[in-house]
Amino acid sequence: MNAPHAELDDPVLLARIERLERRARRDRVLALGALVVALATAQAPPPPASLAPSSLGVRGADGTSALLDGAGLTVRSAAGVAQLYAGLDTTGSPYVSEADANGHQRESLFLYDNGAPGLRQFDAAHVVRTDVYLASGADPTIHLSNAQGVAQASLFIGDKGLPEFDVRNTHGDAVGYLSADDQGAFLNMRDPSLNVRTYAGQYTDGTWGVDVRNATNTNLFKAP
């Protein structure tokens, strides 16, 4: 073992201590720098699941934006107009809606409160012009409507389970009607008072033919 005074007088040891001091100063500067960088760039840790965000938004460079909230997704144009929504409606039913640049709804895909599916297309005045749905939750139905929202052509399976196609006047009355059952088919055409004036196809007695009637339902012509 060396004597203490021998170490104190050792120039090699002194040089080592001086190097240690220089290194300590340099490391301190580096550590403080790292601390500053970490503080400047730190982000808050993610919240726990129980504190999930109530909404999440994304904005594009062109000004468009999307907002995700608990009920669904809303996409807005650069002008801030909501043009697409996919989520739950105010009754809690699923609902997809598309709007034009003015914010007018033009199309929707949805479920009614009873779960029946529907698709609607709207004109610029928000009148339903095309309506595709399951009536009473089950019967497939398509209506094409005029600008007043009156159905003027319909294709559907009715409450008797028969496929039917009709064309309607502006009051919504079926004046041309084509239908079929398992035995055959028939077509009738009605006047404004809804009297059958022309009939073709199978009659209720099982025979087939065509006829033309007057307004009091008297045959003017019948064949065969």
């Binding site: 001091e21 039913s93 997809v96 065509v210």
Partner: protein, 220 residues
């Protein structure tokens, strides 16, 4: 001037103290960096590798995942899916409060647009689609998923309306070509019994036939 031994002792003590402090600072920085680390920024969008769920006060929730969004009601029942389905097709699915799929809009076979509506028994009842030949077609089906009504442009390019029996056989048929429209009504055996409009020979008129295809009446 302090004795040399005393100066050296002080310097070593300072070194030891400084070393301990610096070690603590470095450890603190490491812990801070690990707790708050974020991926280096890039020019692309910020990307999460895990689904993100947002919930409102009513308990409804929307989840954004890599395949789209799903929306659940307050009872945590899945009600809507918008995104890619399990076969990778873009799809919008709507489910009723019982969880039954009632409406689906998607690309069939990867490219043919299709809208389907289902009844509460999961039976397909209405379908609007483009066929593989890209012809528009609307189908109405009964509770047994039998075709009962169709409105379409057929392979021949003719617009057609067809009504069918519960056996899916055609009963009434309204169509047109570039010459004349025509209406055909068939019996249960598929025999045409009434024909109105343009005939195949280019004439126009109407006839009534027997079950054995004998013309009972014809005009003109």
């Amino acid at each position: 001037m302090a004795p040399f031994s005393e100066t050296l002792h002080a310097r070593v003590t300072r070194l030891e103290r400084g070393s301990r402090r610096d070690r603590a600072v470095v450890l603190g920085v490491v812990v801070l960096a690990m707790l708050t680390a974020q991926a280096p920024s890039s020019s692309g969008p910020q990307v999460s590798t895990t689904p993100i769920t947002v919930t409102n006060a009513g308990g409804q929730s929307t989840t954004l995942s890599a395949t789209g969004i799903t929306v659940s009601d307050a009872q945590h029942r899945l009600r809507m899916v918008v995104g890619l389905d399990d076969q990778g097709r873009p799809s919008v699915d709507l489910r009723d409060a019982g969880g039954t799929l009632r409406e689906s809009m998607y690309l069939f076979a990867g490219s043919n647009p299709t809208l389907r509506q289902f009844d509460s028994n999961s039976k397909r009842r209405l379908e609007v689609r483009l066929t593989e030949a890209s012809n528009p077609e609307v189908q109405l089906l009964d509770p047994n998923e039998k075709l009962r009504g169709a409105f379409f442009i057929g392979a021949s390019g003719r617009p057609q309306l067809g009504l069918y029996g519960s056996d899916e056989r055609l009963r009434a048929y309204l169509a047109t070509d570039d010459q004349f429209p025509f209406l055909v009504m068939n019996d249960a055996n598929g025999q045409s019994r009434v024909n109105i409009g343009g005939f195949a020979n280019g004439t126009i008129g109407m006839d009534v036939r027997t079950a054995s295809n004998t013309v009972l009446w014809k005009a003109p």
